[in-house]
């Protein structure tokens, strides 16, 4: 108990705990469900605590999210391995070309956006969530996901195109 010391405890409280929302949000979107996200976020916090001695300053949110992400992938690998190998069929989904009509995304449709986002492969979903919901910079995303910045950029590009395409397709399908 005395090994970690009061100082480290305070550091953990001040640096890591403010990011519990971010941890849960990432887990929720990677696992596509609140129940699983709760368990995995809890486990990730536990791991963060365990690894905390190895954290020597820097971006605590990115550090925590990296652990959350790893914990999520471990969980997915064990519980839903098929999901990780899921590849987005770009040929199939990108047939439609943006026209003025298809631009009419219904902007307040929470349900439709949720399901469109959840349809993306995890690797694309995570960069979008980190960028658009968490407001991370490319550098932070690269640190969290352990992928090079160039790949962050191209993943974002593909993820956005796929999301956009899924949304415009579904809005077309919904029309009479």
């Amino acid at each position: 108990m005395t090994e970690l010391g009061l100082e480290d405890r305070e550091r953990f409280e001040q640096l890591v705990l403010p990011h519990v929302d971010a941890a849960f949000n990432l887990a929720r979107w990677l696992l596509r469900g609140r129940m699983d996200a709760e368990d995995v976020a809890q486990e990730a916090l536990l791991r963060a605590c365990r690894f905390f001695r190895g954290f020597h300053g820097g971006d605590a949110r990115a550090w925590l999210l990296q652990i959350v992400r790893n914990t999520c992938y471990t969980w997915l690998e064990k519980n839903r391995p098929l999901e990780l190998s899921m590849e987005f069929d770009e040929e199939l989904h990108l047939q439609t070309c943006a026209t003025p009509e298809t631009l009419a995304i219904v902007s307040d449709d929470h349900k439709r956006l949720t399901s469109a986002l959840e349809m993306l492969p995890p690797r694309f979903r995570e960069v979008l969530v980190l960028r658009e919901l968490e407001g991370c910079s490319y550098k932070e995303i690269a640190a969290i996901t352990s992928i090079p910045i160039g790949t962050v950029m191209s993943s974002l590009s593909r993820a956005r195109r796929q999301l956009y395409s899924a949304l415009t397709n579904s809005s077309q399908g919904a029309r009479p």
């Binding site: 108990m1 480290d8 953990f12 409280e13 536990l46 690894f51 943006a98 950029m153």
Partner: protein, 251 residues
């Protein structure tokens, strides 16, 4: 027809991640690229939709309760405001976590943070595999069976060999995830102690074995032929070193 800039610069421009010079360059490009202009409009629309839909999901009350479960009994429930109560509970939970974990975790980490964390994850994965309950994997002592399954899962050729004659019986394998990437794991048994050999592809050059211990587990790590190996076990370090020499006789 898509524009070559659409995949890279356009995203960086949209996200405000380009240097001033690159941004000015891209704006010059925008003047005569209708495609990129249209894409920017779409990106804006998409971002607006995402923002308006309020997709961000903060931690649930139930997660907070789970974190704080052991403390609830003594926590005031009616006096403090919800927010202050939560802050207090969160802080207390952190202390509790640390207190519990200190008993488990060794006091020292390697000076190499990256390696330490990597070893930590690998040891965690190993420890997890020891827990009762089903572990998704292949239980077989047939080199070809294990190899076939691992290759499909890991996406690269895994050197699978049974060393029963040398006292390291092949028990099977599985695919695990370390630092977000799939790794192949070979499971051996040595005098009743399971040994996990984690194998993944690397771009780094070959390196001789390095050893360490963590949470009372031993590990040995080396790189050979664009692959990194890390064997972990609660067996003796000498056993791991012996297995390392069997897997990589050239060392």
């Amino acid at each position: 027809m898509r524009c070559d800039f659409a995949d890279s610069l356009l995203q960086g421009y949209f996200d405000g991640e380009l240097s001033d010079r690159r941004a000015t360059e891209f704006e010059r490009h925008l003047r005569h690229c209708d495609h990129c202009v249209a894409e920017l409009v779409d990106l804006d629309l998409l971002r607006d939709s995402l923002q308006l839909a309020q997709l961000y999901e903060p931690a649930t009350a139930s997660l907070r309760r789970k974190i704080n479960a052991p403390l609830r009994a003594s926590a005031p429930t009616t006096t403090a405001s919800q927010l202050r109560l939560w802050h207090w509970l969160a802080a207390a939970a952190a202390l509790l976590f640390i207190a519990i974990l200190l008993g488990i975790v060794g006091p020292r980490l390697s000076t190499d943070d990256y390696q330490a964390e990597l070893a930590g994850e690998i040891v965690d994965a190993y420890a997890h595999s020891l827990q009762p309950g089903p572990i998704d994997g292949i239980a077989s002592n047939d080199e070809r069976v294990v190899n076939g399954r691992l290759v499909r899962g890991a996406g690269f050729a895994v050197p699978v060999r049974d060393f029963s004659n040398e006292g390291f019986a092949l028990k099977g394998g599985r695919i695990d995830v370390i630092e977000g990437r799939s790794v192949a794991v070979l499971v051996y048994e040595r005098n009743g102690h399971p040994i996990n050999v984690f194998i993944w592809r690397t771009r780094e050059r070959d390196s001789p074995p390095r050893t360490g211990s963590r949470q009372s587990f031993q590990w040995i790590d080396w790189r050979k032929g664009r692959m990194e190996f890390c064997a972990v076990s609660d067996a003796h370090r000498a056993d791991l070193e012996q297995l390392q020499k069997l897997i990589d006789p050239s060392a």
